[in-house]
């Protein structure tokens, strides 16, 4: 090969390399710029939802979510024998719950908190912002951070839309074809009943429970309570299990010890937060619970 030919080849390689590098850099810039944009920021809600729906499941919008939640909440209240309406307790649970809710991943939702009128230990949530804690759970707690931990776990189920995933699957099975198909009372009833069948007997899938533990623990720490609140509350629940093995909590939640260990593994990441347990305030506020009903 002649020198000129070698030079020409060398130049050509340089030119090709340069073009390649420019193309790569250009692509990187373009990706960097586009990466900051999300589909829902550049498309109207309906269009983005439509695109997501294409070829997959019909999405569950907020109005629909709240409607399912209302029906599930009614069923929960019915099943657990109504609400405990002790004013100071209702207010306290709502204060702790709202303090969490405004710092949650879905502060745009209106959350509602209530105490179920049973001494059984359990806590439940329904889509759209309904959170329930039983009087028995409230009595089992000893600090505000423990109460916050339990409520945060339930809030996390809502913010992560765990129940909606199940309802979406049911919608697919029901072959709901259009965006307002769920409003039909027959379809709505079948969807809610189908959801309740699994939810009230088996609870959420274990992976969702773990996610709710993780997100809930983070939320508790974010507001400023002791990040170990949920773990400590689970310890109380575990201690109580021997005395009340028939509580429905144990059927709907995974192994408590395993959950405590998993949460404990998360706690070092919050060690610089030194959150508060607010045990004294808890005792003052739940004094009405000292006399079992």
């Amino acid at each position: 090969m002649t020198v000129q030919a070698r030079f020409r080849r060398s130049w050509a390689r340089q030119a090709a390399g340069f073009s390649g590098r420019v193309a790569l850099i250009g692509a990187a810039i373009a990706m960097g710029a586009c990466g900051a944009l999300r589909m829902d920021m550049i498309l109207p809600d309906g269009m983005a939802a439509g695109l997501k729906a294409a070829g997959s499941q019909l999405p569950v919008g907020t109005e629909e979510e709240i409607a399912y939640g209302g029906a599930v909440a009614i069923h929960i209240v019915q099943r657990y024998g109504g609400l405990d309406r002790t004013p100071e307790l209702v207010e306290y649970v709502n204060l702790v719950g709202e303090a969490l809710a405004i710092h949650s991943a879905r502060p745009e939702l209106s959350f509602h908190f209530a105490i179920l009128n049973t001494d059984e230990v359990n806590a439940l949530s329904a889509p759209g912002g309904y959170v329930f804690i039983t009087r028995g759970t409230l009595r089992a707690c000893q600090t505000e951070s423990e109460l916050a931990g339990i409520l945060a776990h339930e809030i996390a189920h809502i913010t992560a839309r765990h129940a909606i995933k199940a309802l979406q699957d049911l919608k697919s099975k029901e072959a709901v074809a259009d965006a307002t198909g769920w409003k039909s009372s027959e379809v709505f009833g079948r969807l809610v009943d189908g959801f309740l069948d699994g939810f009230l007997t088996k609870g959420h899938p274990e992976a969702d429970e773990r996610e709710a533990d993780r997100v809930g623990t983070g939320l508790v720490a974010r507001v400023g309570w002791d990040a170990g609140g949920l773990r400590d509350a689970l310890r109380r629940v575990a201690e109580r299990r021997a005395a009340a093995p028939t509580d429905r909590f144990y059927g709907t939640h995974p192994d408590t010890i395993d959950r405590m260990n998993r949460i404990a593994a998360l706690l070092p990441s919050y060690k610089d937060r030194d959150g508060l347990t607010l045990e004294l305030r808890f005792r003052q506020r739940v004094a009405a619970l000292t006399t079992p009903k």
Binding site: Q14, D45, T62, P107, E108, S110, F113, F188, W225, L276
Partner: protein, 217 residues
């Protein structure tokens, strides 16, 4: 034409010069690309925006939660950061108001349009000013009520859920609760004990460390 030996030297020298020039051209182009890139990248740093991520945010006159309220901020509202202090951003709103907001109540990215719309809807249902926190009576969905009616004996439960929805914690009460518990934006700390970069500042209450500066992410 076959080059002579002297031609080889000439071509070799020319090749070296051209390679140096090509290298310089490549360097200049790379610098130009970097300059454009940096200009894109630096723009947000010079005028950083944050977005309100709660319906309860307040613009305050100073960099503590004890300072007076300047304005209520709407969920999703864009704020231009003009300064910072421990746990707080100093910001300016689009309508020219300046003040401080707890970092805890801001996000670096704009909430989705559906979240903002839902927030406005919730505020409207709550019937308040529409710019701040409203726990709220939004009313049970007609589909849910119909479901309960078809189930039969669910009247008491429907009433209980409606009652649950109507229960409101006023903004003042929630703020007092957070303040009393030193939670959220009301976490207190001693500036002197703030450890820069640690993300935490120990405060003292009754002679023992009880809380940390929150909102550092």
């Amino acid at each position: 034409m076959k080059p002579s030996p002297s031609g080889e030297v000439f071509w070799g020298a020319r090749l070296q010069v051209d390679r140096r020039r090509a290298g310089l051209r490549w360097l200049a182009r790379a610098l130009a690309v970097c300059a454009v890139w940096c200009a894109f990248d630096a723009a947000p740093a010079l005028a950083k925006s944050v977005y309100v991520n709660t319906r309860y945010a307040k613009l305050r006159a100073g960099k503590t939660s004890a300072d007076a309220e300047v304005a209520k901020l709407a969920y999703g509202q864009e704020l231009t950061v003009v300064g910072e202090a421990s746990g707080f951003w100093q910001v300016r709103t689009a309508d020219g108001k300046s003040g401080w907001i707890a970092r805890l109540w801001t996000a670096d990215s704009l909430p989705s349009q559906s979240k903002v719309a839902e927030s406005l809807g919730a505020a409207a249902r709550g019937g308040s000013s529409g710019v701040a926190y409203t726990a709220g009576a939004r009313g049970l969905a007609p589909e849910a009520e119909q479901y309960a009616t078809e189930k039969g004996d669910y009247g008491a439960a429907v009433g209980a859920v409606k009652e649950m929805e109507k229960f409101e914690i006023g903004e003042a009460k929630l703020e007092a609760f957070l303040r009393e518990g030193k939670l959220g934006e009301f976490a207190e700390f001693k500036a002197a004990s703030f450890r820069p970069g640690s993300g935490a500042a120990i405060c003292a209450e009754q002679g023992r460390p009880v809380c940390v500066l929150r909102g550092i992410r």
